[in-house]
Structure formats: structure tokens, C-alpha cells
Subunit: 412 residues, 2 copies
């Protein structure tokens, strides 16, 4: 027995006037997704708890069975891991942006004109040569996509309890990083970040690539902004908990980071981009292949969340219909006599508020021995009538592991 968990990021929504007070899931044509509901057991999930809007990081931890209230320790480390950086358990990590500032360190563009990967790589190379004044601390800096990057601080006496230098908005001053508690470690870490901000700025503003950019009429990437300090969560890996072989099909670095911490093999998919134009069938193919030699496969699709953040319900409907074709391919190509397929969302992203919301998400599980219920269609409201009832995110993984015979009895 195997299990495939498909998570469509931000797919759940609220009723929307322009869809006749339906949700995108309720109007999309999605016969294969509905088949999971029709042949399976349905319910609704609170990723964290009722009314609490989750991030994709906390929600994914939860759907993999880890209580984020206990184990979540910031986004920085998860994202750095997802980008392939080696992160140790005491390292403190940050998400970074190349940005453009004026002489008073007022942010002109938080994305440095969406600088190219090439330019960013050249800048990063020189930043790596900088030395921190405290020899006990080292750093790794890696640019990722366009203006984005990751910073890893390594050494003793570091703390993730520090604020951001990133003001999160243009036309604001770069922030001095402040300790968030009174520990000497937090003060020390803040000091190092403020030192790096200055030293990075000094190297960047006279860098050849930036002088070139200005000559070409482009914004110079003359500062690096830090945010989202975090360490990797101290959790047991899935194979230690359930004795299962697991794999993850995801492009989004944050999700890859969470799956890596959980001990999953990270698979790559040619043509998968995390955008609405991602190659859905290629993802299906990799997942189907992975199910041949794994007990549990986690398949993540980023696109519906972006449509929600863009406030575009019609695009969300289209994306759901493309996900349906991916699901169709999966249902046709896995042996449903020995595979459980579950479909859910990590959180509600409202096309109206354009934000993550705290409403529950639908879930359906099909497979040989589920207690099939009377729900015929997959949706926020139809699934609420299913036999699973209203469960928490952290309940899903034990349910799936129990279905595939990998749960451990508690008691005798």
C-alpha cells in the first residue's frame, strides 16, 4: 500500500460575487478531482486551528504531521534548505532581497529592478569574500531567483530572535536589526547583521556590475535586505516516525525545505516552474514514477495560491481545471487497488482579500479501504458534509499512514 498526498497551494477560497457566490472549486470543471471525492471520504481541515491563517510553511509542516505550534522556527532556514544550502542545526538563516537604496539608505526598489540571475550571481561572488569582524562567525550567501537570496550564519552564540532589516515596503528606511529578546546571543546576532548590511552595501555600491547597470539605465542592487530569521525545526524524520520511504515533488523552495527537514527525497521535474504555466503532466509523471518505490509521495502545486494573491478568480478556476488534468493522469496510471490518493490545500487564499485566510480547507481521500461517504463533488462546502468531519492539519498524516499500514499502535 502507498499514499500520494496532493497539496494545491491556496486552492481553497471563499464565495465570490463574480462566480455567483460560489468558490473557484465550486465552479471549475474538474471530473477527476470530483472522482476523488465521489469514490472517497471527505472532510475539512484546519491547517493550524479554526480561524488562524497559516503560512505555507506552517501549513505544510502541519500536513506532514508536525505541530507547527511546537516545531516552527521561522521561514529563513526552510527556504535556505530548499535552495540546496547546507544548513546545520545551530545555523541561523535569513531570506534576502537584493534591493536599491539611495545614499540615506531609503529603499527605492525592494527588488533592484528584478535584477537578472546573472548579475545577481556576479554580485554574490564578491559578497562571499567579505569577512565578519568576529572570527567565530561564518556566513554563506546564495542568490537564488532574480533578486532573491538566502543567508546562513554559522557559529556559536547565535540566536534567531532578531528582527528584519527589510522594511517590506519601498520609500522606507532600511531598518537597524534589533534583538527580539534580551539575551546576549540575540544582541550579538543583530550586531553581526548590521555589520553585514554595511559591508555588503560598501562592496555593492562600487561593484562593476552595478556601475554597468546604472550606465544601462537599470537600478543598481546596492544593498541586501534580511528578513525571516529562523533555524531548522528539530523534528524526527518521517522514516524515523513511520518507517516509510518518502519523496517530494515540489518546485517552491520553501516547500522543498520543509520536505527536506522531514527527511524526504526531493525530486526534480523538467518544466515545473511554480507558475500557472507549470508542466502539470510532467509533475504527474514524476509522482507516478515515485510511487513505484516509495511508500509516501508528496506532490505540491503552487499555482492556485498566486491566482488568489492576484485576486483573479477566473485564473484560479483555469488553474484548478489544469490540476484536474494532472489528477486525471495520476488516477489513470496508479494502481488504485494499492494506492491511497488524498487531495487538499494548505490554506485558503481569498481572491477578495488577496490574503491567506483562516477558513478550513477541503480534503478527500480515495483508496481501497476508506469509509466512502456520500459526497460527490470536491469543494469547500460539499466536503464539509463528509464523514471525516472537521480535523486538524496534523491529523492527516497519521490517517494516511494508518491506511497504508504504517501506523504504530498506542497501547496494547
Amino acid at each position: 500500500m502507498r499514499a500520494l498526498l496532493i497539496v494545491a497551494d491556496g486552492m481553497a477560497d471563499r464565495p465570490i460575487k463574480e462566480l455567483g457566490w460560489n468558490t473557484p472549486l465550486e465552479v471549475a470543471r474538474k471530473p477527476s478531482i470530483d472522482r476523488i471525492a465521489d469514490t472517497g471520504i471527505c472532510g475539512i481541515i484546519d491547517p493550524i486551528s479554526p480561524g488562524v491563517p497559516p503560512g505555507s510553511d506552517t501549513a505544510t509542516l502541519s500536513l506532514l504531521g508536525y505541530d507547527p505550534l511546537k516545531y516552527y522556527s521561522g521561514r529563513g532556514a526552510l527556504e535556505a534548505l530548499g535552495w540546496g544550502l547546507k544548513v546545520g542545526k545551530n545555523d541561523v538563516c535569513f531570506r534576502c532581497n537584493f534591493a536599491t537604496v539611495d545614499e540615506n539608505l531609503t529603499v527605492l526598489d525592494r527588488r533592484a529592478g528584478r535584477i537578472s540571475n546573472d548579475d545577481a550571481s556576479k554580485l554574490a561572488e564578491n559578497l562571499r569574500k567579505i569577512k565578519i569582524s568576529h572570527p567565530s562567525v561564518e556566513f554563506l550567501f546564495q542568490n537564488t531567483v532574480q533578486h532573491r537570496g538566502a543567508l546562513v550564519l554559522r557559529g556559536s552564540n547565535l540566536s534567531p530572535f532578531v528582527g528584519d532589516s527589510d522594511p517590506k515596503k519601498d520609500r522606507k528606511q532600511v531598518l537597524e536589526v534589533k534583538p527580539l529578546n534580551s539575551s546576549p546571543e540575540a544582541k550579538f546576532t543583530a550586531k553581526i547583521l548590521n555589520e553585514l548590511t554595511q559591508k555588503f552595501n560598501k562592496v555593492l555600491k562600487s561593484h562593476k556590475v552595478n556601475l554597468d547597470r546604472v550606465r544601462r539605465g537599470l537600478l543598481p542592487a546596492n544593498i541586501v535586505l534580511f528578513r525571516g530569521a529562523g533555524k531548522i525545526p528539530e523534528i524526527k524524520r518521517l522514516h524515523e516516525i513511520y518507517n516509510v520511504k518518502t519523496a517530494c515533488v515540489a518546485v517552491t523552495s520553501l516547500i522543498r525545505g520543509v520536505c527536506k527537514v522531514a527527511g524526504m527525497q526531493l525530486l526534480n521535474v523538467e518544466g515545473a516552474t511554480g507558475t500557472p504555466q507549470t508542466n502539470y503532466l510532467a509533475k504527474a509523471k514524476v509522482a507516478i514514477q515515485a510511487l513505484k518505490d516509495n511508500d509516501f509521495v508528496f506532490l505540491h502545486v503552487k499555482a492556485p495560491d498566486a491566482a488568489g494573491h492576484d485576486g483573479n478568480p477566473k485564473q484560479k478556476v483555469e488553474i484548478i481545471e489544469r490540476i484536474d488534468s494532472m489528477v486525471s493522469n495520476i488516477l489513470e496510471n496508479v494502481n488504485l487497488d494499492e494506492t491511497y490518493v488524498a487531495l487538499t490545500s494548505d490554506h485558503t487564499t481569498s481572491c477578495v482579500t488577496r490574503e491567506h485566510q483562516g477558513d478550513p480547507v477541503p480534503v478527500a481521500i480515495t483508496g481501497p479501504y476508506v469509509r466512502k461517504d456520500e459526497v460527490k463533488k470536491y469543494g469547500e462546502r460539499s466536503c464539509a458534509k463528509g464523514s471525516l468531519g472537521r480535523i486538524r492539519g496534523i491529523n492527516l498524516m497519521p490517517i494516511l499512514m494508518d491506511l497504508i499500514g504504517k501506523s504504530e499502535k498506542f497501547g496494547a
Copy 2:
């Protein structure tokens, strides 16, 4: 976006034979209450947890989002606060009764013949002049309605872990207050209460008002009974948690006390009495007005609970129908495009057992973006079929705050 939470105290019930095995909610004519269910999302709430009968204090804490298992610290302080007494965070408070005892301190009437407010005020005045033998401790004593009152002990080394002097029944001896743990503070506090019992008794039995009462054939209020020791819960105020402006429309002192601890503005309503004859429309009017400059308004109606305690299902039905007229007025006068209206009960009060019971209570939330379900009528059993499913009391506030855009994302 704003939210109004209407709580009808003890409105939920069990099926009753004389109502054809229906509940009062199921037989009442209540088109406006049903409209909340019909246009909204429904569910059932366990104020504390399944099967646990709540007090109105713990249930109200819970419905405001505070876990009473963590934060509840006795009724005394909440009630004293609700009566307008100034209570500091280290003060220990008690609910009090003027009572009639014989020479052996056997209680003849726990309510001193339901002594008038006037007589009680005159007696209280002289009690305030009493000095405690330990100068480190002061007390405030305030009579409230008829025989009722509140005592606040202030000083260092006090503890709320002391028993009652009130035997709760007539024909029983006044109890010696006992410490409930072995701390020196509990012993000290018990000693002070026993001293006050004696000193109050001494002043009261020779008081002119009591001599007069006896002459008129009335029972003398010759003792004060103490019960329900408590401190104010150490909780963050609602505006600190959600950044919202809040107001409370309630008469019952206990509920006002809870709302005060939560940092809400306490509004007064001309003609509101906490009885079945309360001025329901005046309450509606104050709530509607309050919604104009608050994010969240809490509207409490006491009457159905009293009908439950009196074992009077027909009166409960009538009260529900009056609450319906209040709800009608509210629904006609608030802008439902920008207001969420929720209706629930703080607990089940059974007309058969005449006690609070642990059954869940119904809840319905209407407003622009709720996932409206198929429930048409508001009731204990109809709401159990709604899309909210079965939630806990502490879940309601995060759900409402998320609907009005005041929730904070957990994670990134």
C-alpha cells in the same frame, strides 16, 4: 468590516416532553434568528469541551477567545470588576451575601429576607469602618443588589486558594474558611476572612438598621457570607491581540467583569435589567450604535438562562421570541455588506434538570463572505448539520476576527 456577537445566556436546551420532545429553540417562532442560520454558516460549539457544563464566566471567557482552562481564576474578581469596583491584579475577591444567622451561626436565611438596597447600603457603610488586625491588608466591601455584595482583599501575601464561609444552604452552620493548599498565603487569607466574619457579625447584630428590621418583623442581616475567591485573569486585552476597538452590551455584572478584563468598553442600556422583562429593543439600539465606531461588539442577553433554572420551558420559548424581535431590529439596521452577525449561547441550561449542562450550543454566523451552508433554521439539532461542524468556544473569536480581516498569519 465589523462583527457583532450575540450571546443568549443558557438558551440552548435538551428535548423536553411538554414541547413534544423539542427544545425551546425548536418550537419558538423566530424568523429573524432563523434568517441568521439561513443566510449564514452554522455549527455547534463546545464552550469548554464535550460534556463539560460551563459557568457563564468560563464560557464567556472562552467565547471571547481565552482558554478558561488556562486563564480562569475564580468568579469573585470578575463579578467585583463588573460591579465597578477597582480590582488590582494581586487582589483577592469574593462574592458576598448578607444573611441571617442565629446565635450559633446557623444560617436561617441566606438572603436576609431579600433585604432592600437601602438597608444594605446603610449596613455596608459601617462595615467599611472595621479595621483588620494585620495592617498590611486592606479591604473594600460593596453591597450591590439586595442581599448581594462583593469583597476585595488587598495586600501582600494573599491567596485565592481558600474555601467559602457560605454553606450554600439554609439550616447549615456558617463555615470556618479553610486554606485550600498548604501555602502560608492561603492560611493567612483564611485567617483574615474568619476575622472579618466575626467582626462583621459583631457590628451587624447590634446595628440600628437590624434592630429596626426585627421590630418591623423582618429578618436581620446579621452576617456576611463569603464565596468564590478569585483574582482577575492575567490575559492580554482584545485590542492587544487583534488590534480592534471593542464594546460590550451587558447588564449581568459577571459578564461585564469578563468583558472589562478583556479590555472592552462597557456600555449602559436604559431599561436593560437582565430579566425576562428587559428592554430588548433598547439593547439592540445600543449595539447598533456601538457597531458604528467599534470593530467588535458583544451583546449579552441573560433572560433565557433564568427560565431554564426555573424549569419553565414555555417562558423560555417566549423569551426566545422576544430575542427574535431584538435580532430583527438589528438585522434591519446594520449594513450586512460590512457586518458579520453571530448568534450563540454560552451554555445549555436544561429546563428539566434546571442546571447548566455539557451539551454543545448552536452557532450561526451571517455576513458577506461566509461559506453559507444549507441549514435553514437555528436550533441545537439543525445547526449540528452546518458547515462549521463542531468547534470549541475558543475557536469562535479567531474565526470572527479572520472574517473581519483582523487575524494575524502564523508562518510566512
